[in-house]
């Protein structure tokens, strides 16, 4: 029977049906992104649809020399450090919290459910809440305070869930062995635990970075007077009717892909090192 795996008999018909479904899904997933990628090289016709005429880089040029478009470069210069900050904090906070959850402590369940609630609360609701909080406290909203917090409230639960999955697989006997061999608590963490869970930490970092870099609803009311990149794009969708929008899409997608590639390849590299030796 097909469903039971290592049989190398002929593939059942369901395989072909589902393979076709999968292929269609991948086309559905990537097709539009590829269309945007191609159209960002549109020529001076400034047409927003196919065909592509006189391919050029002019719309990329326009992005960095803003005349009609907004402050893309400025937005990028805010979004990037914000994403890196969220990434670092997410790794630091969710890894330490993940370790805490390996022991039973009072309030563990409450904190866990709060984290889950933070994950599912609509971003807009949270956005209003943070705005009101900052008003009430008399603090000005800005991308590096209120928006940072808003992003953390969404990235941290993700990071925590990933850490649960990773630490669930980390056998306590590694730590016991390290203690037996005379390692101190800190040495155990540094020499044994962190190297083992490192690939998982990269995954947490990836989530932290991209969730912040692309976050829109939670940023909307919390960034203050200066936009982050997704908000800049949002503004452009209503104002800009040139392929510059596509060019911007291409650029941000490339940045995302670079980050993903960096994260995944470093995970693969580590795993390979582990399975084959250095």
């Amino acid at each position: 029977m097909a469903a039971s795996s290592p049989s190398y008999g002929p593939r059942p018909w369901t395989f072909y049906v589902l393979a076709a479904l999968f292929a269609l899904f991948v086309i559905f997933l990537y097709g539009p992104m590829i269309a945007v990628l191609i159209l960002s090289f549109q020529g001076p016709s400034a047409s927003l649809v196919f065909p592509l005429r006189d391919p050029s880089l002019m719309w990329f040029d326009e992005l960095f020399n803003p005349r009609r478009t907004g402050d893309v470069v400025g937005a990028f210069n805010r979004s990037l450090p914000l994403a890196v900050g969220v990434m670092l904090l997410t790794v630091l906070i969710s890894v330490t919290a993940g370790f805490a959850f390996r022991r039973r402590f009072k309030g563990a369940t409450a904190i866990f459910y709060t984290a889950i609630a933070s994950l599912i609360v609509p971003g807009l609701v949270l956005s209003i809440g943070i705005l009101v909080t900052f008003r009430y406290l008399g603090w000005p909203a800005s991308w590096y305070t209120s928006a940072l917090g808003a992003h953390l409230s969404w990235a941290l639960p993700f990071g925590l869930l990933i850490m649960f999955a990773i630490l669930g697989r980390l056998s306590p006997s590694y730590e016991e062995a390290a203690y037996d061999l005379g390692a101190s608590k800190w040495q155990t963490v540094k020499e044994v635990v962190v190297p083992i869970v490192f690939p998982g930490m990269i995954a947490v970092a990836l989530f932290g970075f991209t969730l912040s870099y692309d976050e829109f609803p939670r940023s909307w009311l919390t960034v203050g007077s200066k936009n982050t990149l997704p908000l800049e794009i949002w503004t452009m969708t209503t104002n800009v009717t040139s392929p510059a929008l596509y060019a911007l899409g291409t650029v941000t997608t490339i940045v995302s892909f670079l980050v993903i590639a960096l994260a995944l390849s470093s995970i693969i590299l580590i795993q390979r090192k582990r399975s084959r030796g250095k």
Binding site: M1, S4, P6, S7, Y8, G9
Partner: protein
Amino acid sequence: MTTTAAHVSNARPLQESGEIRLVDVAKQFGNTYAVQNINLTIPHGSYCCLLGPSGCGKTTILRMIAGHETPSSGEIYIGKDMVVGKAPVERGTAMMFQSYALFPHLSILDNVAFYLKMRNVGKEERRQKALEMLQRVQLDHLKDRMPAQLSGGQQQRVALARSLITNPKVLLLDEPLSALDEFLRLRMRGELKSLQDELGITFVHVTHTQPEAIALADMVVVMDTGRIDQADTANVIFNKPKTPYVARFMGGQNVLTGTVESNSGGVFKLKSADGSTFEAKAGDETASAGSKLSVSVRRDHVALRRGDGTTEVNSIAGVVDATEYQGSYVKVTINTAGGVFVANVSDRAYFAEPVDTGDKVVASWSTEDVHILSKADTGVAGDPYLDGGH
């Protein structure tokens, strides 16, 4: 499905045979053969153990009989039917998985009733029948528990009940005892055997443990990488192994190789590379002078004495490497010029004249206890089973 409840409750006619016949079966995974040239007949109603180290292909054979793998070539018969290509349920086989594969989301009762549910038997009736089956394995009081709440031994009984409710001609057991502790293993071993006696159906049991196979099986099939080396009764396998591999794997044997010097009066005279000589009674075997021949000598048919060198026939000299007390006997490992030789000396004989590591000894045996192997030993250096068994 039009199968009715009445059909299910009909016991399979007794004469329906659970004989299994594999003809030239081979199984390829990618470019490598998992098993090759498998020809085997397991008689109806026998307890057959497939024995071999991990990766030898024994589980592949079991899964092909079960219908969970399709052979790349060859035929498999159960009773009169060629079953290759048939669904497992049409074969009259039931499989008990190594992990037991109890459905974690169903109660014990529903696990056992699963087969009946698949045949659209009504809820009341199937629960009744499943309960009867649970009574047979004495677990009816746990019927509403979930699998995770049971001990390993209990889980295994449930798995057994779930297999038996299909009323199979053949029960296939994949390492059924490997997950149990020593005590339970011995107990379940006895229970499996008596269950098989009671049901009278064919059991095919995969294991990597020699004592398990010897204790249970009417027929032991010893497998080497992808091939059957010998299939026979436990007694024959143990006393008259066919190949050096079987002799080593079953344990309890010393394998010696020599060149045939003469064949007189049905007795071969052999000389090994290190100069020791021994004799073997030629049964049906023929061997010309100058050819290589391997023989086996049971470890417990060896006598030991102190001595420095030997020129006698049927003896070998060496230095004691280790002694290991085993209760009723002492295992003495001797380093000889030709390799490692083991003597299992009864505790009485041993303590009458104890030997210790470093002592020079001579081991000897009688011609009657020498058994000729069909293949000359190719000298499997570093064979992991060299020291297997007892």
